[in-house]
Symmetry: C2
Subunit: 372 residues, 2 copies
C-alpha cells in the first residue's frame, strides 16, 4: 500500500456559535499542547486531584466521586445510567427533546424496563406531573435533562423534582451537558444524585471528556449491585480505584485533555460562577433582542429559555440551510439547524464559555441582517 498523501493542517478560524463545541481560549489550547507525562506520574496525580476539586466547584458539590469520564458527553450520559441500572430495573425518563430520547435508548440497552413521561419537544415539565409519573410504578431511577440542546428549553424546579424522586425512593440522574458552567447547577443544594456534562460547551474545553458527579445515595446503589456493571470502560467501581486514593491502573487517562480541562476550569474559577452566569445571560439577552428585530423570535418562552443555547423560530419558506452555509463560508460563523420534529423550524445558536462574547453577538446579528 502507498502511504496516503496529506498536507499540513490548515484550518479556517471558525467562530463557533452552534450547540458545541464552543470556542476555546488560547491559554486552554496552550495547556492542551504541553508534552504529556505518564498517567501514573505523581505530577499527573496532582493534576487529577485538582481537576476533581475544580469540577466539584463548578458542580457545587462535595461529592467525592466527581471525575472527568474519558469520553465525550455521551459517554458521561452512559456512565450515569449503566452504573446504576441492573437488568429488570424500572427506570423513568422525562422526554421533551432528543437527549431525553437518547436516555430512553441507553437505559434500555442495560436491561432496564423503561417508562417515559412525555412533553412535546421544547416544553418543560412541572414537578407535579413528574411526581404523578413516579407514582405509577416502583422506579429505581428518574432521568431528566436540565438543558435540552435540541430545543433550547431549560427544565426548572430541579430541586422539587429531586425531592419527588427521593419521596419515591428513586435516584435522580440529571443531564447538565449544556448548562454546567453557563447557568446555575447546584448539585448539593438541589440534592441531585448523579449528574454529567461535556467539556465542549460552557466550560469551553475541546470535546473529549465528560464531567460526572455521583452522590452518596447513588454510590450505595452502586456498592450494592448484584451484577457487574455491564460496561467495563465506564464501570465506576473500577474507575474510582484509579481516581481514588488507590491509584490502581484502569485505563490510560487522556493526559493532555486533562491538562486542558484543568485550565478551562481554572478560568471558570477565576471568573467566578456568578460573574460567568451573568455574562452568559447578558450576551444571550442582547442576542434575543436582536433576533426579535430580525423577525426570528426565540422559540422557548423567556421563563425557561436557556442563556447558553437560543433557538429562534424561523419564518416559513426560509432556506435556512443556505443561510447557514453562507454564514460558515462567507463569515466563518457556525450555527446549527434544528433536527427531529424541529428540523427546518429553528436554528440553534450557542453562546457558551469563550464563545459568549459581545463581538460574536454583534457580528452574528450584523451578518444575519446582511443575509436575510
Amino acid at each position: 500500500m502507498q502511504p496516503p498523501q496529506t498536507s499540513d493542517l490548515n484550518l479556517s478560524s471558525r467562530i463557533l456559535l452552534g450547540p458545541g463545541p464552543s470556542m476555546v481560549a488560547p491559554r486552554v489550547l496552550r495547556a492542551l499542547s504541553q508534552p504529556p507525562v505518564g498517567h501514573l506520574d505523581p505530577e499527573f496525580l496532582t493534576i487529577m486531584a485538582e481537576v476533581q476539586e475544580l469540577l466539584r466547584f463548578v458542580f457545587q458539590t462535595e461529592n467525592e466521586l466527581t471525575i472527568p469520564v474519558s469520553g465525550t458527553g455521551s459517554a458521561g450520559m452512559e456512565a450515569a445510567l449503566c452504573n446504576f441500572i441492573e437488568p429488570g430495573d424500572r427506570v423513568l425518563v422525562a422526554v421533551n427533546g432528543y437527549f431525553g430520547e437518547r436516555l430512553v435508548d441507553m437505559a434500555g440497552r442495560y436491561g432496564a424496563q423503561v417508562d417515559r413521561v412525555d412533553r412535546p419537544w421544547g416544553e418543560v415539565f412541572t414537578p407535579e406531573e413528574i411526581e404523578t409519573a413516579l407514582g405509577e410504578a416502583s422506579y429505581k431511577l428518574l432521568a431528566i435533562v436540565h438543558a435540552e440542546t435540541s430545543t433550547g428549553a431549560c427544565q426548572p424546579d430541579i430541586e422539587k423534582i429531586a425531592a419527588a424522586a427521593h419521596r419515591h425512593d428513586a435516584l435522580l440522574v440529571l443531564d447538565t451537558v449544556t448548562s454546567l458552567g453557563g447557568l446555575p447547577v447546584e448539585i448539593d443544594a438541589w440534592d441531585v444524585d448523579v449528574a454529567y456534562s461535556g467539556t465542549q460547551k460552557a466550560i469551553s474545553c475541546p470535546p473529549g471528556l465528560a464531567p460526572l458527579t455521583v452522590g452518596a445515595r447513588a454510590r450505595d446503589v452502586l456498592a450494592n449491585r448484584q451484577t457487574p456493571v455491564a460496561n467495563w470502560y465506564l464501570d465506576m467501581t473500577l474507575v474510582t480505584k484509579y481516581w481514588g486514593s488507590e491509584r490502581t491502573y484502569h485505563h490510560t487517562a487522556p493526559v493532555n485533555m486533562n491538562y486542558a480541562l484543568r485550565e478551562a476550569l481554572r478560568m471558570v474559577a477565576e471568573e467566578g460562577l456568578e460573574a460567568r452566569f451573568a455574562r452568559h445571560r447578558q450576551h444571550a439577552e442582547t442576542l434575543w433582542v436582536g433576533l426579535e428585530k430580525l423577525g426570528l423570535p426565540p422559540r422557548a418562552p423567556e421563563a425557561y429559555r436557556l442563556p447558553t443555547l437560543t433557538t429562534p423560530q424561523l419564518p416559513e419558506g426560509l432556506n435556512e440551510a443556505a443561510i447557514r452555509k453562507q454564514l460558515l463560508e462567507e463569515f466563518n460563523i457556525e450555527i446549527a439547524g434544528g433536527f427531529g420534529p424541529l428540523a427546518g423550524q429553528i436554528w440553534r445558536i450557542g453562546l457558551m464559555g469563550f464563545s459568549a462574547r459581545r463581538e460574536n453577538v454583534t457580528l452574528l446579528l450584523a451578518a444575519l441582517k446582511e443575509l436575510l
Copy 2:
C-alpha cells in the same frame, strides 16, 4: 463554596520510556492545539476522511470501517467485543497476560459464555493449541493479544491463528495496542476480522483515541445481530453513520485529538512503515545488549520479544521501586514495574514512536549504570 486555588501548569519534561503514553513530537502537539472547528464542519469531515485513510495505511487494510473510537485503547477493546457479542454467544480468549484477562472480563459483561485457553504470563501460543481449543465448542469469536504490554511477549503466527479461527467459523479479534506503528501489523494479509489499538504507544499521539478496524465477516455479524449492541457509545451501527457517508450526529467527536492523531499518522506515513519498524528494532536491540551487560537480561526469548516493550528480568533482592523513583526524580525518566504475577520481577521499558530514539536508550542505560 470558595473556588479552589491552583497555579499555572508547570510540568517536568519527562522522558517517557514506560508502557505508554510515549513521547509526542512537537508537530503533533502543535496540531493538537489548533482552535477547534465544529464536528460537522466540512473541514472536519475532510480531516475525518484523512484520518481513516491514514489508519487504513498503518493497519495495512482496505476495511472501510476503520475509525478512531472516541476513548482510550480500553474503549477500543470494548468496542471490538461488544459489537460482535450477543448474550449466550460462546467466546474463546487466549490468556497469557493482563490484557487477555481483561478480554475475558469484558466479554463476560456482554453476556458471552467465555472459555479461555491459558499460558503462563510471558509465554505465547502455538497455532495448534489455539486450533485444538477452537474445536472444543462452537465459538463465535476468538480474541487474542498480539503484543502483551504486561509481559513484553509478541504472539507470532497471527495469520495461522486467523485461518484456524475461520476454519471454525469464528471471528478473530486482535489486540494491537502495543504493536500498531512499531512492528508489522497486517490486517488484510493476515485476514484479521477486528483489530484495535491505542494512540499513545507506537503512534505517539496523546492518549484519548482508539484505532479500530472491522472487516467484512465481522460487519456481517454486526448487521445480523438479533439484539441492539449493549453499549450505546460504542455501538458501531450508530458510530458508522457519522464516520460513513451519512455524517449523522452520534456523539461530538474529540476534534482536537483527531487533529493530533492525523498529524501523528502523517509522521508514520512520511517515515514509512518499514523504516519505522527498523528504527524500533534497532534501538530495542541496543537496549537489549545494554541491559544484558547490566545483568538485567530481557525476560522474553528473542524469538518472540517485542521491540516496543522490553521486560528485563530483575535480580532477586533489588529494590526496583526505589530505582524507578530515582530514575523519575533525578533523571526525569519514566519506566514501569511489572504487575500481577510479574510484580517485582520485571521492569517494563517502552521504546515506542517518538520515544524510540538513540539518545533515550543511551541515557537510560547510563542512568541505570549509575544507580545500580
